[in-house]
């Protein structure tokens, strides 16, 4: 079945991603009920705002444990934006905060200068191209939701912090901003996370969501 639960733990706009999943043929449902999370075929973990406030809301919602059990069960999880960042071990926004630790690594602030030392606008907002990680080509995208996306195709980013997975193979795609390499997609086993918003990334984002739903 193509059913997807969009986890509602009190953070952000869930309507856009739900509509996008429906557009991709999913039976999508927003839920804050632990039973729905436990019983989901697929799960979307959204997130907007600061790392710590998202983690706090997640804990307070009582959905952290059901989420971790879902991950352990091997069913597909998609984290979006801060929902992706929370999958890492540590977030460094407004202090040092513990993440979910599903993927090893940290979340750090984007540098506000480019590689030539010029001032760089942070947050990084706008359309930017997706590329395979350094040393890899797009064959690494086969069989993942990125399958068939052309390297360089743009997605829509809004963020000030970036994920730095400690295991290079956990990084599936990057984007370049002011000469900095920023993690765009992380993946490990049944878990995938996008720094950008697939629900706002036009045809490229919809392709990813369609493949996430169909997998």
């Amino acid at each position: 079945m193509n059913s997807v639960v969009v986890m509602d733990y009190g953070v952000g706009n869930l309507l856009s991603v739900t509509r996008a999943l429906e557009h991709c043929g999913a039976d999508a449902r927003i839920s804050s009920d632990a039973k729905d999370v436990e019983g989901a075929d697929r799960l979307v973990l959204p997130g907007v705002g600061a790392f710590e406030s998202c983690m706090t809301s997640l804990k307070e919602s009582g959905l952290r444990e059901p989420l971790m059990e879902f991950v352990a069960s091997g069913r597909p999880l998609l984290g979006i934006c801060v929902g992706m960042q929370m999958l890492l071990e540590v977030g460094e926004e407004f202090g040092i905060h513990e993440g979910l630790g599903v993927i090893k690594g940290r979340v750090r602030k984007i540098l506000a200068t480019d590689t030539s030392g010029a001032k760089l606008k942070v947050p990084h907002i706008g359309w930017n191209g997706l590329l395979p990680r350094a040393g890899a080509d797009s064959s690494t995208w086969r069989g993942t939701p990125l399958d068939g996306v052309a390297p360089g195709a743009a997605a829509y980013f809004v963020h000030s912090y970036g994920a730095e997975p400690s295991e290079p193979l956990d990084c599936l795609a990057v984007t370049i901003y002011g000469g900095q390499t920023i993690t765009a997609v992380i993946a490990r086993g049944n878990v995938i996370g996008t720094q950008f918003h697939p629900e706002k990334s036009g045809a490229v984002g919809l392709r990813m969501l369609r493949q996430f739903v169909a997998h």
Binding site: N13, L15, E22, K121, G126, W127, S201, A203
Partner: protein
């Protein structure tokens, strides 16, 4: 260099997409949903909805239109017109908007910009400025579709807005709006030089050459266009193709 965004602007009155000249003399164009879907499918980088009579009535009427759009439009949406409070902005964000534009309420109470930026994040606060030329190199900020003076100098106001926490500027030239005679490039250049935040140039787009000059000479980060699209004088596909052929930094559609 970042990608310059091509934005389809939809001015709304009641249930209708409308278009005026100098933001007045409004004509009904059609159903906003139909146009929104068409522009999304044609590759718009973003949609911009403005409820252009909202300030008069003190409310924004776009929640329904935006939540309907969220079913068919999968690029960012900016929404403005009559936004008076953080709560107004929150309603629009919940309906599917990504950014909220403020003008009238912010000129009356600039602190609203800071409050919105703190509670919702700078990235979703767009300062909307309606500018009228008053002397060479000088512009005054207006509200209510260019009808009401604010007494504020555009360049001072935009600097203040950026300091207060606005994440972006929507800059509409009242003089050029609806004329199809091109952007007020000097205005756009003065504003892009004054602030570090992205600037959306709006008002006057009639042909690809206008787009080119406002990007190259005005250094606009984004270009909003309305009747040139509504009346089919140019298409987003064609404009993007021309932009790529002229080496303007726009998103490649794949």
């Amino acid at each position: 260099m970042r990608n310059v965004r091509l934005i389809a602007r939809l001015d709304i009155k009641g249930p209708n997409l409308i278009k005026g000249i100098h933001l007045e003399g409004l004509r009904v164009v059609g159903d906003p949903q139909e146009y929104a879907r068409r522009y999304y499918e044609a590759g718009a980088d973003e949609l911009l909805y403005m409820d252009i009579v909202a300030s008069l009535y003190g409310r924004n009427n776009l929640t329904d239109i935006v939540s309907r759009a969220a079913k068919d439009v999968f690029v960012p949406m900016t929404v403005g017109g009559g936004v008076r409070s953080v709560e107004d902005a929150r309603k629009l964000l919940r309906a599917g908007a990504d950014k909220v534009a403020v003008n009238t309420a912010a000129t009356a109470n600039p602190g609203l910009i800071t409050e919105m930026a703190r509670k919702l994040g700078s990235q979703c606060v767009v300062l909307s400025i309606e500018a009228k030329l008053t002397a060479p190199g000088k512009w005054e900020a207006y509200t209510d579709n260019g009808r009401e003076h604010t007494g504020r100098d555009v360049l001072e106001w935009v600097r203040q807005g950026a300091e207060l926490g606005a994440g972006e500027v929507l800059l509409t030239s009242v003089d050029q709006e609806g004329t199809r005679k091109g952007f007020d490039v000097a205005l756009v250049r003065a504003v892009t030089a004054a602030v570090d935040i992205p600037v959306i140039a709006s008002g006057g787009m009639g042909s690809f050459d206008h787009l080119k000059s406002v990007v190259l000479e005005g250094e606009a980060d984004a270009v909003a266009m309305a009747d040139v699209l509504h009346y089919g004088r140019a298409s987003l596909e064609e404009l993007r193709k021309q932009a790529l052929a002229s080496n303007l930094p726009v998103r490649k559609l794949s």
